[in-house]
C-alpha cells in the first residue's frame, strides 16, 4: 500500500465516523462539532487531491462561517441540550433501511464505472490559485456575477424574515 492510500483511508475513516456521530448524537452542539471534524477531514482530502486553495477556502467558509452561523442560532434559540424528543423506533428503522438501500443502489450503479484520465491530469497544478483564478474570471465570469444576485436575494430574504414587524 502506498502512503497516499493510508492517508486516504485514515481521512475517510475520520470523515465517515464523525458524519455518523453527527447523525447519532442527540446534542445539537455536539453535532456541530462532529460536522466540523468531518469538514476538516474533507479538507484533508482536498489537500491530498492537490486542491490546496480549495482546502483553505473550504475551512474558512464552512468551518469559519457557516458552522458559526449554526452555533449562533443554536445558542440564540437555546437548543444546546439534548431536548430532542425521541423518534419512535419504527421510523428510525425505516430511516436506516431507506438510507441503506439508497447507498446500496447508488453503489450498485456506479460500481465498475470508469473515468478516463486525460493526459492533462498529469498536471498537478490545476488546484493552484493561479489556475483557478484564471478559469473563474474568464470562463466562469457570468456565474460569478450571477451568484451576486443569489447572495443579494438571500440577504434581502434573511433580513426580511428576521426583522420585527413595525406597525
Amino acid at each position: 500500500m502506498l502512503l497516499s492510500q493510508y492517508i486516504f483511508l485514515f481521512l475517510s475513516f475520520v470523515a465517515i465516523i464523525s458524519a455518523l456521530m453527527l447523525v447519532l448524537d442527540k446534542n445539537p452542539v455536539h453535532s456541530v462539532l462532529y460536522l466540523i471534524i468531518t469538514f476538516f477531514a474533507i479538507a484533508g482530502h482536498y489537500l491530498l487531491l492537490n486542491a490546496q486553495f480549495l482546502a483553505v477556502v473550504h475551512i474558512i467558509v464552512y468551518a469559519g462561517a457557516i458552522m458559526v452561523l449554526f452555533l449562533y442560532v443554536i445558542m440564540m434559540l437555546n437548543l444546546n441540550k439534548d431536548i430532542e424528543p425521541h423518534k419512535k423506533n419504527i421510523p428510525k428503522v425505516a430511516a436506516a433501511v431507506a438510507a441503506g438501500l439508497l447507498l446500496l443502489s447508488l453503489t450498485a450503479l456506479v460500481n465498475g464505472a470508469e473515468v478516463n484520465m486525460l493526459p492533462a491530469a498529469r498536471n498537478s497544478n490545476i488546484g493552484l490559485m493561479d489556475n483557478l483564478g484564471k478559469t473563474l474570471f474568464k470562463e466562469y465570469m457570468l456565474p460569478f456575477e450571477i451568484s451576486s444576485i443569489l447572495f443579494l436575494s438571500a440577504m434581502v430574504g434573511a433580513v426580511f424574515l428576521s426583522k420585527k414587524e413595525i406597525h
Partner: protein
C-alpha cells in the same frame, strides 16, 4: 351562392355577443327581435343555398382561413356545403327560428330573459359549426360547444338543486361520449394523416387500410354518438334533462343536438359501411334502446318524460336504420322527427303554460275546448309520429322499416313493435291530456287559457311542416308510381352512402298495409281504454284494481288486454326503469364516480403533512425507480 355559407353561423354569433356583452342592460324588447331575427336571417341564407344545391347538387368547401399548422398536423377553418350539411342547417335554423319565436312568449316573465337568449343563440352557433365544419376537429368543437350550452340551459332554472344535478349528469355522460369521439379523431389522424373529411374519405376508397383499425375508429366515433344521442348505455341523461325550459327541450333535446350523433354516423357513412361489425353494433344498440325506452314511455305520467323517452326511442330506431345501411332514410327521419317532435314539445310547453306549470297528465284532460290551437297541432303531431299517411312521419318511418326488413327480419319485428308502442303511448298522451273531463283543481282549471300568438304561430307552422314534410322523400313504392324518383336519396347521394337494397314493390306495399292495419288497431285500443273506459293511470299510491272491479266494468277484452299485456308490460317497464336504468346504468355511472372519490380519499392520506414521511417517501420511490436503471445497466 355557397360562398355565403359563413354568414349562417355568423348571425347567431353576433347576436350572442351583443346580448351577452350588454348583459341585463339590453331592453327585453330588443332581445325579442334580435335573437329570433338573427336566426331568421341565417335561415333565409340557408334557404338560398339550399335552392342552389337543388339545382346543382355538389359538395363545395368554403375555406375561411388556415386555422393552425403544427408539424404535419393542420386544420383549416372551413365549411363544407353539401346536401347533408345544408339539410341539417335548414332544420337547425328553421326549427330554431320557430322555437326562438315561441320562447319569446314562453319565457316572457323570466327574469334572466337575456341570459336565456344568449345561451340559445350560442347553442345555434355551435350546432351550425358542428354540421358545417369540414373536418373532425371543427365538428368536435361544435360538439363540445352544444354540450356546454345544453348544460347551461338544462341548469337554467338553477333554483332547484335537482335541475343542477340533471345538468351535471348530462354533462358528465356527454363527456364520456366525447372521450370516444376525441380518441377516434386522433386515431383517424394517426391512420389517415388528416382530419379533413374529403382527405379521409378519399383514402378510404383507394388505400387498403387495416379493417381492424377502421372498426376501432368507427366504434370510438360511435361511442361519441351514443353519448350525444342518448343511446344505451348513456341515455339516462336525456329524460333528466327535461328539467330545463320546455323550448330548450324542443330545440336541443328533440330536434337538433341529440341528432348530432346521427349526423356523425351519416357523415362518416363511407367509413362506417366498411366495418360490418360496427354496423351490427349500431343496429343492435339502436333497436335495444328503441325498445327499452318505448316500453318505459308507455307508463310515464309526466308529459315531458313521455316525450323524452319517445325521443330516445325514435333516435334508437334511426340508429337501427343506420346500422342496417339505411343512411338516407335515417337522415330523412331526423328531418321529419325534428318537425313533429319539436311540435310535440312546444305543444306540451303550451299545455304546461296553460296548466300553470303542472306536468302530470293525470291532472289534465279536457283541454281540447280550452286550447283549440294547441290541441289541433298536437293532434297533427301525434298522427305524424304514429306514421299515418300522408303525414310526415309515415314516409320516413316506412322507409326505415322497409330497409330494416330487407336486412334483418327479427329487427324489423322489433322495430314494428316499437312503432306500435309509439302509437299507443302517443295516443294515450293525447287522450288523457285533451279529452274527457278536466281533472285539475279549480284554481288551475279557471286559469287554463290558450297560449299567446307568439306561441301558437310557431305551433301552426310546425304543424304544417309535420303534414307536408314527408313529401321531400317519397317512398320507393309510391315514388315509382308517381315518377318522383326517391328524390332525397338522389339528393343525398353525394354526401352519404346510398343503400343498395332493392326491394320488390309488392313486398313494400304489403309491409305498408300491415303496418297501417296494426296502427289502426292500436289506436282503437287506446281509444277504448282512455276515452270509452275513461281509465286514468293510477296515482302512485293507489292499490292495483281488484278482480271485482274488473267484472263490474265488463270490458273483458280490455281487461284481458290489461292482464296479458298491460300488467306484464307495466311490470317490465317498471323493472326496466327501476333496475336497468336507475340501478344498473345509473349505478354504474355513479359507481365509477364514487370509486374515483374513494380512491381520492385514500390517496390523499399519503399527504400526511409530516416532513419525515415526505422525505422517506421520496427516497423510497427514488430507490424503486433506480431499480429500473440497475436492471438495465
Amino acid at each position: 351562392m355557397e360562398q355565403l355559407i359563413y354568414l349562417i353561423p355568423l348571425f347567431p354569433l353576433i347576436s350572442f355577443l351583443i346580448i351577452s356583452l350588454s348583459g341585463s342592460r339590453l331592453p327585453k324588447s330588443i332581445t325579442t327581435y334580435l335573437a329570433p331575427g338573427s336566426i331568421f336571417v341565417s335561415f333565409v341564407v340557408a334557404l338560398l343555398i339550399f335552392a342552389a344545391q337543388i339545382s346543382h347538387p355538389q359538395a363545395v368547401t368554403v375555406p375561411l382561413f388556415t386555422w393552425f399548422k403544427v408539424g404535419e398536423f393542420h386544420a383549416d377553418f372551413s365549411f363544407l356545403v353539401d346536401a347533408l350539411s345544408i339539410l341539417f342547417t335548414l332544420v337547425i335554423t328553421g326549427v330554431g327560428f320557430l322555437i326562438h319565436v315561441y320562447s319569446t312568449g314562453y319565457m316572457h316573465d323570466e327574469k334572466d330573459y337575456n341570459r336565456y337568449f344568449s345561451y340559445l343563440n350560442l347553442f345555434v352557433f355551435f350546432m351550425l359549426l358542428l354540421v358545417l365544419g369540414d373536418n373532425f376537429l371543427l365538428m368536435f368543437i361544435g360538439w363540445e360547444g352544444v354540450g356546454l350550452c345544453s348544460y347551461l340551459l338544462i341548469g337554467f332554472w338553477f333554483r332547484n338543486s335537482n335541475y343542477a344535478s340533471a345538468a351535471k349528469k348530462a354533462f358528465v355522460m356527454n363527456r364520456i361520449g366525447d372521450f370516444g369521439f376525441l380518441l377516434g379523431t386522433i386515431l383517424i389522424f394517426g391512420v389517415f394523416g388528416s382530419i379533413n373529411y374529403h382527405e379521409v374519405f378519399a383514402q378510404v376508397g383507394n388505400v387498403v387500410v387495416d379493417g381492424k383499425l377502421i372498426t376501432w375508429i368507427t366504434i370510438l366515433l360511435f361511442i361519441g354518438a351514443v353519448g350525444k344521442s342518448a343511446q344505451i348505455p348513456l341515455f339516462t341523461w336525456l329524460p333528466d334533462a327535461m328539467a330545463g325550459p320546455t323550448p330548450v327541450s324542443a330545440l336541443i333535446h328533440a330536434a337538433t343536438m341529440v341528432t348530432a350523433g346521427i349526423y356523425l354516423v351519416a357523415r362518416c357513412s363511407a367509413l362506417f359501411s366498411l366495418s360490418t361489425y360496427t354496423m351490427h353494433v349500431i343496429a343492435i344498440i339502436g333497436i335495444a334502446t328503441a325498445f327499452l325506452s318505448a316500453t318505459i314511455a308507455l307508463f310515464q305520467n309526466d308529459i315531458k318524460k313521455v316525450l323524452a323517452y319517445s325521443t330516445v326511442s325514435q333516435l334508437g330506431l334511426i340508429f337501427c336504420a343506420l346500422g342496417c345501411g339505411a343512411f338516407s332514410a335515417g337522415v330523412f327521419h331526423v328531418v321529419t322527427h325534428a318537425f313533429f317532435k319539436a311540435l310535440l314539445f312546444l305543444g306540451a310547453g303550451s299545455v304546461i303554460h296553460g296548466m300553470s306549470g303542472d306536468q302530470d297528465i293525470r291532472n289534465m284532460g279536457g283541454l281540447r275546448k280550452k286550447m283549440p290551437i294547441t290541441f289541433y297541432t298536437f293532434l297533427i303531431a301525434t298522427i305524424a309520429i304514429s306514421g299515418i299517411p300522408p303525414f310526415a312521419g309515415f314516409f320516413s318511418k316506412d322507409q326505415m322499416l322497409a330497409e330494416i326488413f330487407a336486412v334483418n327480419k327479427i329487427m324489423f319485428v322489433l322495430a314494428l313493435l316499437v312503432s306500435l308502442m309509439t302509437v299507443f303511448y302517443m295516443f294515450r298522451l293525447l287522450f288523457l291530456t285533451f279529452y274527457g273531463e278536466t281533472r285539475a283543481n279549480d284554481i288551475v282549471k279557471n286559469h287554463i287559457h290558450e297560449s299567446p300568438k307568439s306561441m301558437t304561430i310557431p305551433l301552426s307552422i310546425l304543424a304544417v311542416l309535420s303534414v307536408i314534410g314527408g313529401f321531400i322523400g317519397f317512398p320507393h313504392a309510391l315514388g315509382h308510381e308517381l315518377h318522383i324518383h326517391h328524390w332525397l336519396d338522389g339528393f343525398l347521394a353525394n354526401a352519404v352512402k346510398p343503400n343498395n337494397v332493392e326491394m320488390h314493390l309488392n313486398t313494400e306495399l304489403l309491409l305498408m298495409a300491415i303496418t297501417l292495419v296494426l296502427i289502426a288497431v292500436v289506436i282503437i285500443l287506446a281509444r277504448n281504454i282512455f276515452i270509452s273506459k275513461k281509465s286514468i293511470p293510477q296515482s302512485d299510491e293507489a292499490a292495483m284494481p281488484l278482480l271485482k272491479e274488473v267484472i263490474y266494468y265488463k270490458y273483458y277484452i280490455d281487461e284481458i288486454y290489461e292482464a296479458i299485456i298491460v300488467k306484464p308490460l307495466n311490470k317490465i317497464a317498471g323493472f326496466l326503469r327501476d333496475y336497468i336504468e336507475r340501478s344498473g346504468i345509473d349505478a354504474v355511472v355513479n359507481g365509477i364516480g364514487n370509486s374515483v372519490v374513494n380512491w381520492s380519499q385514500l390517496l390523499r392520506l399519503t399527504q400526511t403533512g409530516g416532513l419525515g414521511f415526505y422525505v422517506g417517501a421520496m427516497v423510497i420511490s427514488m430507490i424503486v425507480l433506480l431499480l429500473f436503471l440497475i436492471l438495465k445497466l
